[in-house]
């Protein structure tokens, strides 16, 4: 225990470039998460819509796609893509990635990581969104139809807004999970916080001068970075959900308390 709290073991935080080196790595994680969540939300919604399509073949095909990606380990998907992604795809990415994207996201390997994250999370989010939409009372859809709205209009103005709103906590929970999953790209040699943490606690200082940081403390610090970030995100989700409750005076149909939604979020992580 003493080892943990001994202030000498925390001195590395103030030495040289160490703290900055770690935070730079963490920034890469956040950047990857931001890009991945945007695309995952978009494709997740698309997949959910396909799943709910009234064309059986389309719904079934989308269902198979979602089930395959949801059931594979994310690290598996990322590793496979890193090893097997065809060169033309990487070139396409490198040629088309916007110039304003940060340096770390310019290389083709990050594309494998981001693609893996998006393939997996869009499938998971598709299921969350579909559950949200389906949990809506049939009555809503029927009422909308009786008012003369076509199916696309029903979706757009009545069903989707309410269905998706129910899924906000579950979606933010997935965002938190995605944030954690960005550490997996360290396995495909992307220089993010885990790699930087390893370098800081390695003995390279024999070549570069200075002292190696103690491994336990470095990784506890990295863990703390994630806990703080993710905890803030989950707080945000609670506030959004409370605002929503205040606005609509509770959701229609079976009451989905925060606990249920947390459990639902737990199940989809």
């Amino acid at each position: 225990m003493g080892y943990l709290f001994n202030p000498d073991n925390w001195e590395w935080l103030t030495e040289g470039n160490n703290l900055r080196f770690l935070l730079e790595g963490f920034l890469v994680n956040l950047e990857i998460a931001a890009v991945a969540i945007v695309f995952s939300l978009y494709f997740g919604l698309l997949l959910a819509m396909l799943r709910l399509s009234r064309f059986r073949p389309v719904a079934v095909a989308a269902g198979v796609w979602v089930d395959v990606w949801r059931n594979l380990p994310l690290i598996f998907i990322i590793l496979y893509l890193a090893l097997a992604l065809p060169a033309p795809w990487k070139d396409f990415y490198e040629n088309n990635v916007p110039g304003f994207f940060p340096e770390a996201l310019q290389s083709g390997r990050v594309f494998a990581g981001i693609l893996g994250l998006v393939l997996y999370n869009s499938a998971v989010l598709a299921e969350i969104m579909r559950a949200g939409i389906l949990s809506l009372d049939r009555g809503q859809g029927e009422a909308a139809a009786s008012l003369g709205l076509t199916y696309p209009q029903q979706l757009r103005y009545v069903i989707l807004p309410q269905g998706l709103r129910r899924m906000v906590p579950a979606t933010v929970s997935q965002l938190i999970t995605l944030n954690k999953d960005t550490t997996l790209v360290s396995i495909i040699a992307i220089q993010e916080v885990m790699r930087h943490g390893r370098i800081l606690s390695s003995g390279f200082t024999a070549f570069t001068g200075g002292a190696a940081a103690p491994l336990l403390q470095v990784f506890i610090f990295i863990g703390a970075l994630f806990v703080v970030t993710n905890f803030a995100l989950s707080r945000l989700s609670r506030r959004l959900e409370i605002r929503e409750r205040k606005r609509t005076g509770g959701t229609a149909g079976p009451v989905m308390g925060l606990e249920d939604q947390t459990a639902l979020a737990a199940e989809t992580s």
Binding site: L27, E31, A33, R109, V110, P161, A189, Q191, G210
Partner: protein, 303 residues
């Protein structure tokens, strides 16, 4: 658009913008540190050679940079300096020599044993210089340059260990990297050893230092790099294997292979190799080394 969806979109975009803003304010690369600054656009120097159009060399000159896969955690051959963010080492310097010869900027990326060959095959990197041993199995997938360094396989153990050589490894936990040649070697020579395979040698070192394994087996230069980091460790045993290092070039690209081999041989002849050796290896161990005499054919014949 509902309020919540709008909020979510706004938050996502705000995060992205904040991240970009912070990245724009920072001035280090965190993915790779080029020797003279990564990134394209470098022009050709006055003395750069002209190459046949369509050859890899000409393409690289057009692009202005060459992407080289090196190790980021194997001093003294390739490692990332946490203070400067730069990549340094013997392999790195060899890479800089080749880039200089082409008149382009070198850009370094991390190539771990497991993924370096796929990266080359996919065009992710143009050249590999990452302590890669020449052998026939790999030669079927890529082209090798002439050997530029000869390393020997050895075993590293804690200072107080009673392991004296490969014979003593039975029942002991031995670590090496996934995808390295030592895996086969150890399975043949020490079939009763308990093999632990990890991504990178720095992980092996970590496991040795915290007692989770009993020995590491790999090239002597890598082990020397570890001893420099932790002088309580010692190298034991006879030389297990001969490991000629070769640069990795994409399969079929004979022109580039010739160019790289010629450049490396020129460096061996005119003393740059000796200087690099002295800077990275010689000053730490009191061993003189000669540039390799072996040819690629001989190296392949070894295994």
């Amino acid at each position: 658009m509902t309020k919540i969806k709008l909020w979510r979109a706004l938050i996502a975009m705000a995060l992205a913008v904040a991240a970009l803003a912070m990245a724009a304010c920072g001035d280090d690369d965190d993915d790779d540190g080029g020797g003279n600054g990564g990134g394209g656009g470098g022009g050709q120097t006055e003395e750069a050679q002209q190459f046949p159009a369509g050859s890899t060399m000409a393409k690289l000159q057009d692009r202005g940079e060459i992407t080289i896969g090196v190790k980021y955690d194997v001093p003294p051959f390739g490692f990332k300096n946490p203070q400067s963010g730069e990549i340094e080492g013997f392999d790195v310097d060899m890479g800089k020599l080749i880039a200089e010869e082409l008149g382009v900027e070198p850009k370094f990326v991390e190539a771990i044993s497991d993924n370096r060959i796929p990266f080359l095959q996919q065009g992710e990197v143009d050249l590999i210089l990452s302590t890669m041993t020449i052998n026939q199995e790999r030669d079927m997938e890529i082209e090798f340059s002439e050997p530029y360094y000869i390393a020997r396989g050895r075993i590293l153990v804690p200072g107080d260990s009673d392991i004296k050589g490969i014979e003593d490894l039975a029942g002991k936990r031995v670590c090496t990297a996934l995808g390295s040649t030592y895996e086969e070697t150890l399975r043949e020579e020490a079939p009763d050893a308990d093999l632990k395979l990890v991504d990178t040698y720095s992980e092996c070192l970590e496991l040795l230092q915290n007692g989770a394994i009993d020995a590491i087996s790999t090239d002597d230069v890598i082990l020397t790099g570890m001893i420099i980091q932790d002088d309580t460790l010692k190298m034991v045993g006879d030389e297990l294997t001969t490991e000629p290092y070769g640069a990795g070039i994409k399969e079929g690209d004979k022109e580039f292979q010739t160019f790289v081999s010629d450049t490396l041989e020129a460096a061996q002849a005119d003393g740059r190799w000796d200087d690099t050796y002295q800077k990275w290896v010689g000053q730490y161990i009191n061993k003189q080394a000669q540039p390799p005499e072996m040819t690629l054919q001989e190296a392949l014949a070894l295994g």
